[in-house]
């Protein structure tokens, strides 16, 4: 049973050791980042999420849209239970498999095959489960004999394939993806999309942050537009993409 319920959450990062003597208050409208403000004793506070409320259930495939620093990754990290919100309440039910960083849980000096076990264990699988699934993961990654070589011999696309293969083979209810599907080549993209589609059909919950409208259109059925940590729009994917493109001044059919 997958459920993500965010009730009016805000998240403030204290930024230590950084006094604001350089910064002049600019009147220009900013296009990047969250909201900066001064906390007690002069240090800066970044308000990365501002009163976000969101309710997602099984079968929802949410696209996260927004400018650089709009809070997409931070929101994913809240959903992954990595960050506890400073205000508000987040309820996340179900097993979560985050795929935020492709390099994570990967040891460059170990073989690809060993890394299936390390990353898989981190994602909450048991060794017995992994032994059963190792072949399927190896096959999906299409890395063949490269799996017996150390990871440092891999290209970044090959690493992405392996990381993606492991994360999508985990028994999970919620899959969180951050801008990663775009790394592979065309053939792998197609395969990844198919995998994510079956994943979505099994009425699991998928949240994907991406700047590629094509990827989002292929995979998602809902969208959230974030701006400086606030939810600007939530609803049908096409409408939100349209709104985002209009705001950014580009054609929605691009990318």
């Amino acid at each position: 049973m997958a459920l993500i319920k965010l009730e009016n959450i805000s998240l403030e990062f204290p930024v230590q050791a950084w006094k604001s003597d350089r910064r002049r208050s600019s009147k220009d409208e900013r296009h990047i980042g969250g909201q900066l403000s001064s906390g007690q004793s002069g240090h800066m506070v970044v308000r990365a999420l501002d009163q976000v409320s969101l309710m997602l259930g099984a079968g929802d495939r949410l696209a996260l849209l927004g400018h650089n620093g709009a809070g997409k990754t931070t929101l994913l990290r809240v959903m992954a239970k990595l960050y506890a919100p400073t205000h508000g309440r987040a309820t996340i039910q179900g097993r979560v498999a985050p795929l935020l960083n492709l390099g994570f849980g990967m040891d460059m000096d170990s073989t690809g095959y060993d890394n299936i076990f390390i990353r898989g264990l981190f994602l909450g699988m048991s060794k017995a489960e992994l032994k059963k699934k190792a072949d399927a993961i190896a096959e999906f990654s299409e890395l063949g004999d490269f799996l017996d070589l150390p990871m440092r011999t891999y290209s970044s696309g090959m690493r992405a394939r392996l990381a993606f293969a492991i994360s999508t083979h985990v028994e999970t209810d919620i899959l969180l993806l951050d801008e990663v599907v775009a790394t592979g080549d065309a053939r792998f993209l197609k395969k990844a999309n198919e995998k994510l589609e079956t994943f979505a059909q099994e009425s699991k919950l998928l949240v994907l942050a991406s700047h590629s409208n094509k990827v989002l259109r292929d995979l998602c059925n809902k969208a959230v537009l974030l701006e400086h940590g606030r939810i600007k729009a939530f609803g049908d994917l096409e409408e939100v993409i349209e709104q985002y493109s209009a705001a950014a001044g580009v054609d929605s059919r691009d990318g």
Partner: protein, 284 residues
């Protein structure tokens, strides 16, 4: 298999202000328990770290054994003479004390890095913080195992029979490990926020090595100097493990003080860690 899918695990995600200290402490205890469920992960990672330290060497982790053997031969030969003790007495004292010290020191020095050295994982995946602590305890337990080969060699060489007191080493090590958990949680937490603290620890430990009776005997100091023995927490833990290894039963004072330190340590750590642990991901 994991606790995260039960609704109770979401308690920790309520508004920080609405939670009482009591329920926060309960969450920490739950984390201590949940870490155990992840044993396949930390056992794998711990063992890998042991191998990693001696990557591509032929002897591998047996370098731990060898370096302790060198210490036993060189320091044992030299200081045994300085201390004018017979080698058959001094070398077992040195080897057991030194390998216990190496274990304690690793728990403190690596404990302070429990979170800092796992920054990548903490930013990526929500596993109980105790997983990183258990990983380092397990790793150092394995290294202690490799070191104990020298100990067995010494027993055979000097025909010391530690039985039956040697079995007391099991509860002794359990108590040390139980202390290792709070030390790592507390020092690890402080070091995430104040990195200078982490620079201080190895210096303090280097000093502690010389003022703790490892190279020398606790009964060879007298008068005011005895405070280095009796006010030194490391002395009690060293003695707790060393005595059974040499076939002696640790005195009641040793057990009492070691248990007292355990209680005080946990008493200090629980509320502090309970209050700040959710900030670790922000500070890392």
């Amino acid at each position: 298999m994991l606790q995260v899918d039960s609704p109770s695990a979401d308690d920790g995600f309520k508004d920080a202000k609405s939670r009482t200290v009591g329920s926060q402490v309960l969450e920490v205890l739950r984390e201590v328990r949940d870490g155990w469920r992840w044993r396949e992960l930390w056992m794998t990672l711990g063992w890998r770290e042991v191998q990693m330290r001696h990557r591509r060497s032929e002897i591998g982790p047996f370098w731990n054994t060898l370096s302790l053997a060198f210490v036993a031969i060189c320091i044992g030969g030299l200081y045994g003479g300085i201390m004018s003790r017979p080698t058959s007495d001094y070398i077992p004292h040195l080897v057991t004390g030194y390998m216990t010290w190496a274990f304690l020191q690793a728990l403190v020095i690596e404990g302070k890095d429990a979170f800092v050295s796992n920054a990548a994982a903490i930013r990526e995946i929500a596993v109980p913080g105790t997983v990183y602590v258990y990983k380092l305890l397990w790793k150092n337990l394995i290294i202690l195992g490799f070191n104990s080969l020298v100990y067995i060699g010494v027993l055979v060489l000097y025909q010391v029979s530690p039985f039956p007191a040697v079995f007391l080493v099991v509860p002794a090590l359990a108590l040390v490990l139980f202390n290792g958990i709070w030390v790592s949680l507390l020092l690890g937490l402080i070091n995430v926020r104040y990195r200078d603290f982490g620079q201080l620890i190895p210096n303090a430990m280097r000093l502690a090595f010389f003022v703790t009776p490892i190279l020398w005997y606790p009964d060879s100091v007298s008068g005011l100097r005895a405070i280095f023995v009796y006010l030194n927490p490391f002395y009690y833990f060293i003695e707790l493990v060393r005595a059974p290894l040499l076939g002696q039963v640790p005195g009641a004072l040793i057990w009492t003080v070691a248990s007292g330190i355990t209680l005080v340590g946990w008493g200090i750590t629980l509320p502090i860690y309970a209050h700040w642990r959710r900030r670790i991901a922000f500070w890392i």
